[in-house]
Amino acid sequence: MNVYLLQVVNGVGIGMLYFLLAVGLSIIFGLLRFVNFAHGAFYALGAYLCFQALQLGLNFWVALAAAPLLVGAFAWLTEKVMLRHVYALPHEFHILVTVGLAMVAQELIITSWGPLGVNVAPPESLQGVVMWGSFVYPKYRLFVIGFTALLAVGLWWLLEGTRLGSAVRAGSESTEMVSLLGINIFRLFSLMFALGAATAAIAGVLAAPIRGAEPFMGVEALGVAFVVVVVGGLGSFTGALVGGVLVGVVQSLMSTLWPEGAWLMIYVAMAAVLLLRPHGLLGRG
C-alpha cells in the first residue's frame, strides 16, 4: 500500500485536530482582536481530563462529553472574573495576562498529574484496524476524522445558519455597529470564548489516545494554532480548516521523508506562505 497515501490520511486526521484547536482562537480574535495565549492550556486540560476520567473508571465517551463542558465552564468563569477587566487595556496586556494564565495552568497540571507524560488508551470499541482491500487503517484515527468533520459541519452551521452566528460574523466586521444594533457584544464574546475553549478541549481529548498527555503540550499546541491561523488567515473559519489540514498533511508527510524535521517544516511552510501571501491563504488584507 502506498505509504504516502497513508500519511496524507494521517495528516488530514491530525489537521482536523489542529483545525479544532485553531478555530476558537481565530473566532475570538475576529470578535475583539483578542489573542488568547492560554488557548493551548485548554487543549492540555482537555487531554488531562480525558486521562483523569479513564483513571476514575469512566469511559472515553463520558470524557469526550464532560471535558469540553468543564473546560468551557472554566473559561467562561475566567473571562467573567479576569479577562473582562483587560479589554480596555492595550493589546500587550491581553497577551501578558493570558501568558500568566497559561503559566498557572501548566503548573497546576504538573502539581495534579506530575511532570512526566501519561498515556491514554483509545476506547475498546475503536481499537484495532479497518481493512479495505489493501488499505489498512487504525479505527480510532478514522473515528477522529469522521467526528471532527461532523463537528466542523456543526460549527459551520452555527456560524452561518443561526442568528448567533450572524451576530458573531457581524461583530468581527464592526464591533461598534453590532453594539449599536442592540446586541450585547460582551455576552456574545464570553459565549464564544467558552465555545472556543471547549473546542480546544475536544481537540485535547481526541488527541490524548494518539499522542498521550504531557504538561508542555499546551505551548506546543499554541505554536501550532498560531501557524494554522497565520497560514489560513486570521479570523476566518475556512482559513482555519484549510490551514489546519495543510499543516497536518505537511507534518505527516515530512515525518516519512525527514522525521527529525517534521516539526521544523510546518514552520518553514508558514514562512513560505507568509512570503507569498502576507495575510494568509484566505485572509483579507
Binding site: H91, L96, V99, G100, M103, E260, Y267, L274, P278
Partner: protein, 327 residues
C-alpha cells in the same frame, strides 16, 4: 546636582554592579543578574520604546549561546571574535525574523514572533551536529582576556568573570541610554505612541522598527553568549519558548520605558526565582500570578511603582522618559 541628575541612570547602574558583589555570596548568581539585565534591556528597547512585544528574544539569546560555544570549542576563535560572532548571529536572526514579522502589526506581529521562536527551537533541535541537540553544547571554556598576545586577566573564578560581565554590562547600558536619548530613540518613541502619526510625518516606520529589532537582537546575542560562558554549556533551553517568555516577564515586571527598570526587573526575577525554587518546585505558578497582577494593577512595573511612591512622599518625581512625548 545637575550632573547627578543628568547621569542618574548611569550612576544607578554603576551602583548595582558594585552592590551585587558586596551583598551576595554567589558570584554566579550575581553574574546571572547582569547577563539577564542586558537581555531585558534589549527587550525593553522593543516593548518600551518601539511598542513591539517580541516573543522571539529566546531566538537571539540561544543563537548567541550556540555561536559562542561553536566559536570557542570547534573553531577555536579568540574570545573577542567569539563574542562578535554571537552578536552578529543575534543581529542577523533579528533582521530575518523582523523582516517577516514587522510587516504585520499588533497581535499578529506577536503571534509571528512566537511562531518564529518555535521554528528556531526546532531548527536547533534538528541540527544536533551543530548544536548538540537535546544535550546542548558542552564544555564551553572561559579563556582569559588578552590584548595583542598579553594576558590581561583570567576569567576562571566566578568573581573574575563577574568583573568581565560587569564591564560589558555597563557598556551595553551606556549604549542603550545613548540610543534612547538620540534622535533615533525619540523617533522610536514617536512610533510607539502613535504609529499613524509618525508615518504621516514621513518616517519610514518599518525601517525604524527593523533597526530597533536588529539592535535588540545584537544585545540579546551578547547576553546569550555570556550566559553560555557563565554556565559552561549552551543548552537547548536557551533557545526555547520559555527563555523568550522569561525575558519578557522580567521586562514587564521591571517596567518599560527606562533602561534601569530593566535592570531592576532582571534582578528581581533572578533573585526571587532563586529563592522561590528552593521553597517550592512549582514556583513558576506564583510568577504566573505575579505577571497577571503586575499587568492588571501596576502596568508600569516595579519602576513605575517606585516612582509613584516617591511622588506620594511629596518629592519631585524623576521625569519618566517618554512621558513628555505623550499628547
Amino acid at each position: 546636582m545637575e550632573m547627578l541628575k543628568r547621569y542618574r541612570f548611569w550612576l544607578l547602574a554603576l551602583g548595582v554592579t558594585l552592590v551585587l558583589p558586596l551583598t551576595m555570596r554567589s558570584g554566579t548568581l550575581a553574574t546571572e543578574v547582569l547577563v539577564y539585565a542586558m537581555a531585558v534591556m534589549a527587550c525593553n528597547l522593543l516593548l518600551g520604546y518601539t511598542g513591539l512585544l517580541s516573543f522571539g528574544q529566546g531566538i537571539f539569546f540561544g543563537l548567541g549561546s550556540y555561536g559562542l560555544g561553536i566559536a570557542l570549542t570547534r573553531l577555536a576563535l579568540p574570545l573577542p571574535l567569539a563574542l562578535v560572532l554571537a552578536i552578529v548571529l543575534g543581529a542577523a536572526a533579528a533582521a530575518l525574523v523582523g523582516w517577516f514579522a514587522i510587516r504585520q502589526r499588533g497581535t499578529y506581529f506577536v503571534m509571528l514572533t512566537l511562531a518564529f521562536a518555535q521554528m528556531f527551537y526546532f531548527l536547533a533541535y534538528t541540527t544536533p551536529d551543530l548544536t548538540g541537540g537535546d544535550n546542548g553544547l558542552l564544555d564551553i571554556p572561559r579563556p582569559p582576556v588578552s590584548l595583542f598576545g598579553t594576558e590581561l586577566g583570567s576569567l576562571a573564578g566566578p568573581w573574575q568573570f563577574y568583573g568581565f560581565v560587569a564591564v560589558l554590562f555597563l557598556l551595553v547600558f551606556f549604549l542603550v541610554l545613548r540610543v534612547t536619548e538620540s534622535v533615533f530613540g525619540r523617533t522610536l518613541l514617536a512610533i510607539r505612541n502613535n504609529e499613524e502619526r509618525a508615518q504621516a510625518v514621513g518616517y519610514n516606520v518599518r525601517y525604524f522598527k527593523l533597526m530597533a529589532f536588529v539592535l535588540s537582537g545584537a544585545i540579546t546575542g551578547l547576553a546569550g553568549a555570556l550566559h553560555a560562558m557563565l554556565m559552561g554549556i549552551a543548552p537547548l533551553t536557551n533557545i526555547d519558548y520559555h527563555t523568550s517568555e522569561m525575558i519578557l516577564i522580567m521586562t514587564v515586571i521591571g517596567g518599560t520605558g527606562n533602561a534601569f527598570a530593566s535592570v531592576l526587573g532582571a534582578a528581581f526575577y533572578v533573585l526571587l526565582s532563586d529563592w522561590l525554587s528552593t521553597l517550592w518546585p512549582r514556583w513558576l505558578m506564583l510568577l504566573g500570578f505575579l505577571l497577571i497582577a503586575v499587568s492588571l494593577f501596576i502596568p508600569r512595573g516595579l519602576w513605575g511603582l517606585g516612582e509613584m511612591l516617591w511622588r506620594k512622599m511629596g518629592r519631585e518625581p524623576a521625569k519618566p522618559i517618554g512621558q513628555e512625548e505623550q499628547a
